[in-house]
């Protein structure tokens, strides 16, 4: 019985939960959920370089290891209500595979493998960053019910006190529109 439990835990990926500085949604705190391998670095301090003509959710640019990365505020992107609590911001470098680019090469399998584009961005989050296992006691929620445009989420789950968002970063990065349904 114990061995069986160990085996099931081995199969689970480690996750990192990043709390958003936003008011509760349906009585739960919104939390971003990523696999641990997606997190490149948590920046204690980021030099934010404002970018002219940028949308609200594009906070600015940031230099990271000689790369220029966009800093994205998902609270603004999803049009959530910013939290009134004291803000302790953190900036997290997150990476994803550019699935939007891969979709265009569906017919050519070889090209798919060689053309994998890794996209990085910096997310502005709160200082509550928790590393752990995938939460088990969750139920799936349809994004529209919580006010999210489905295209920008890979999944939405609600636990007892938290609402877990699995954002589709590549789609968000390439989007010209905001991620709320309103």
């Amino acid at each position: 019985m114990r061995d069986k439990k160990k085996k099931s835990l081995k199969g689970q990926a480690k996750t990192v939960a990043l709390s958003l500085d936003a008011e509760q949604i349906k009585g739960r705190d919104p939390v971003l959920l990523f696999t641990a391998s997606q997190i490149d670095e948590v920046l204690a301090d980021a030099e934010v370089h404002p970018l002219p003509f940028a949308a609200n959710h594009l906070v600015g640019l940031c230099a990271w290891r000689e790369q220029v990365l966009p800093i994205i505020d998902l609270v603004a992107f999803f049009d959530l209500i910013p939290s009134q609590k004291d803000k302790n911001e953190r900036y997290v470098v997150v990476r994803t595979v550019d699935s939007t680019l891969l979709d265009t090469n569906k017919d050519n399998k070889e090209k798919q493998n060689t053309n994998k584009v890794v996209l990085r961005c910096v997310l502005k989050v709160s200082n509550q960053i928790i590393s752990g296992d995938i939460p088990t006691e969750c139920t799936a929620v349809f994004p529209k019910q919580a006010g999210f445009a489905p295209v920008f989420l890979k999944g939405l789950f609600q636990g007892e006190k938290k609402l877990f968002l699995l954002p589709d970063l590549a789609t968000i990065i390439h989007s010209d529109v905001q991620g709320s349904t309103t």
Partner: protein
């Protein structure tokens, strides 16, 4: 390596390749510059999509030229001139289209991001934004010419003296009695007749008095005393004017007229002066 001038406009810091910058000027633009209506831009306002009224104190005008585009760019501050490594990249997504147009290249230097402005895109982007966003009116940027107040020693040539002599009869016969001092300095020819008509005639000045006052005024003018407040009748040396019954007002008028002729003789005529009056 590229030499880049780091400038600040509003909340934004960006780089302009130094080779594109023809000149820079603190404060207002000189009237001689090629600044025209529609080719003066306020960087901070343009990038923030706002209208701007006047240059803020301490801001700097850069004359920028790239290919056919020659314009003036007002920046809040010139921060530094740096050398950038040759390698640059493009702005990452989701940068907006206008930013891609204005800043086709971006570089990282000592962990700082430098957005490289394409000067050739300022005018097209301002046009695209429309409604005069980011455009400064020439009248608010070009300093008003006031050569009469310059503190330099003018070289009064004989032409000036001839001019004074030839008009001395008019000066003697038609002085104005009361006139604000500050309005006597700059006087377009057209207004002159109007003033003469409206003023009553004071007592005439004899030729000897006129010559003495003229000599004294020219000598003062050569010392750089050119403004209305610096050439006053009560500064005349005692005993210089021996003609009796002359009021200070008449003498002052004479001094002003001589001073005016001196200024006219050394100041080339500028057609653009008239709109400033």
């Amino acid at each position: 390596m590229k030499k880049v001038c780091l400038v600040k406009g509003g909340n934004f810091v960006l780089g302009i390749e130094s080779s594109y910058i023809l000149s820079r000027q603190n404060g207002m633009l000189a009237p001689e510059t090629a600044a025209q209506e529609g080719n003066i831009f306020h960087l901070g306002a343009l990038l923030a999509r706002k209208h701007c009224k006047r240059p803020e104190p301490g801001s700097v005008f850069l004359q920028v030229e790239k290919e056919k585009n020659n314009f003036f760019l007002l920046v809040d501050q010139v921060i530094d001139e740096i050398e950038l490594p040759g390698q640059t990249t493009r702005l990452p997504p989701p940068s907006p289209e206008l930013a891609h147009i204005l800043f086709p290249q971006v570089a990282v230097c000592m962990n700082l991001i430098v957005l490289l402005l394409d000067p050739g895109q300022i005018i097209p982007v301002a046009r695209q934004l429309g409604q005069g966003i980011g455009v400064l009116a020439r009248e608010h940027c070009v300093q008003v010419r006031a050569p009469q107040r310059h503190k330099y020693v003018p070289a009064v040539d004989t032409t000036a003296q001839q001019s004074i002599k030839s008009s001395s009869k008019n000066v003697l016969k038609q002085p104005a009695e009361t006139q604000p001092a500050d309005k006597k300095v700059v006087r377009p020819a057209g207004r002159w007749k109007t003033i003469k008509k409206n003023k009553k005639r004071p007592k005439s000045v004899n030729e000897e008095t006129f010559k003495r006052i003229m000599a004294w005024t020219i000598s003062q003018f050569k010392q750089g005393k050119v403004s209305a407040g610096e050439l006053l009748a009560d500064q005349l040396p005692p005993g210089l004017v021996q003609q009796e019954g002359l009021s200070d007002t008449v003498i002052q008028y004479l001094i002003d007229q001589i001073s005016l002729r001196c200024q006219e003789s050394i100041t080339p005529s500028h057609p653009e002066e008239h709109h400033e009056g």
